[in-house]
Subunit: 151 residues, 5 copies
């Protein structure tokens, strides 16, 4: 099994490294291919290319807080979904918006939690799809506490 | 006849189970294939893949109430329509926004009603298309009371 | 000549019937194929499929007045344009937003006028394209009075 | 060389005629193919079809001033870009929003200026691409005075 | 190695020249192909065509400050991502919004910095991908000072 990991030089945390570490620490037999592009709009075609040799990709990015940045994130997300449909394989999007936390410490915590949990999601989607079915509707969250099921 | 049902671990209600139950209780001869993905943006490619073996898919998700969540839902919906056009088959989207009801009880009622009615819609589209034509313009709603025709 | 007509069970007026009637009353030699789907997001793939056997399609829907409904209409319209580009044939979109009139009577008038005029547009596009060129820039409207040319 | 010109019956000025006139007055050897469709959302597939026989297309439309009209224009523009990518040829979009001027006279001036300048752009793109490179970054505008380069 | 550079006559700074200069001054062995189109919506198909012969493209534009201009930029960006997915190659987007600075001098500084840095990014993506990985998550910015990593 081969996982592609792509992140950006724009992000203010080394997101790709977190994803790679999580996979290598827990699933040492999985081959990881790492790439970095300038910004989130460069992720779709890079991931599409990687899917030629990988079974799944993880696409990491940190869009800024301005309106323009939100539009960029929307364009990147749309492209990532398009790339998946063209290749017939998943790309797990790991975006953290710079305004999700009040300070740098809080932001780094969100980034680390989201990167590590989605790294595992990527592996489980290929190796343990039944784990996902078992957790359907349980309000899982990446970047913080789970929301849980509605009682 | 084979129906694909995909839901998410992000949702706070087990939507896929409701769809599967509705089909199995009422149409026991139909084969159901169940999958779960992390979030709604992962639905399009999963449904596209399933349409390779299924006649129709039901895609379930519960987007959050924040602006960012609405954008995610828009991206997922766009991808689901794209996937349908690529495969030439229907994907019935069953999305419930977390702010559609004031409390958990109300939300669960909406989810159950929408999931079950759309499960039937999926079956009728393939088996009884004339039922849909008969109900054209009657203001049918999933998730609550029908709006009815304008008098 | 064969025209596909698709409408929804969500709409509160039987729009498909109005389109079919207009065509059959005025162009009795034209073959009409009628389909109904649950909502407007189901229109694109249904129309795309129909275009396999039809020369043109008319896609009818009544999006609600809420913000979420506008987004749905946007997604459906985007999908309808995509379907046309894939098939190389026209789909005439006949959408009436529920808030276009103050009461039911007004809304029904808009629906009837728009459905009937666009039914004719669909036929003219195939049979009398010169009629459209002759009316270029004349401010034609469907659903009410023409706006006319700017003097 | 063959240029396709498509406009709408919705527009309140005969935009297609302005484009055709500009080309025929200045480049009498160019063959022009003229089509008219009901509204701007019908432009993409019409242009795509014309690009089968033409070297370039000019797509004219006059979206209204309401929010819904802006969304229609966005959908049409997205479709026009998609059509270009599918055919590998240019479609010059000539849209004039009904609220770009305070009165009819002002609007007609904008329409005429934009149609004529873009008609020339379309020809230059095929015959004199070096003219465009020479004018790169000069703040050219269609519909009014050029903005000029920043000093 | 061959780089395509496309800019517009709409922009108020000769962006394409800045990109070409940066490449030719620093990487004299690289072949540069320069094109200019009227506006940013014309960039996607021009870049897609150039990618037939080039290894990568740089697409430059200066969207205006009005809401309509932002929508144009969104449409152009979406098309640029689509073009990349179709060709399987990168297009580095270099857009500067006219309202990013208070005066012309400030705007020209942003334009020059962004054009030159992204010209290098384009080259590094092909020749030194490990340089990008080394700078992952370092908060690099084009058009001004780097934001840096979060401490």
């Amino acid at each position: 099994m081969k996982v592609g990991v792509v992140d950006t030089t724009f992000a203010r945390v080394n997101m790709g490294k977190l994803v790679v570490d999580e996979i290598q620490e827990n699933f040492p037999d999985i081959i990881v291919v790492r790439r970095t592009v300038p910004g989130i709009k460069d992720l779709p075609v890079e991931c599409k290319t990687l899917l030629g040799e990988c079974d799944i990709c993880v696409a990491c990015g940190m869009p800024g807080a301005a309106d323009k940045d939100r539009v960029c994130a929307h364009e990147a997300s749309t492209g990532l979904i398009h790339a998946q449909l063209m290749e017939g394989k998943h790309i797990i999007e790991v975006f953290v918006h710079e305004d999700e936390a009040g300070d740098g410490r809080g932001l780094k915590d969100i980034v680390e939690d989201r990167c590590r949990k989605h790294a595992r999601n990527a592996v489980y989607m290929l190796r343990k799809p039944e784990w996902l079915v078992k957790n359907a509707g349980t309000g899982m969250r990446q970047g913080g506490e789970n929301a849980g099921s509605i009682q």
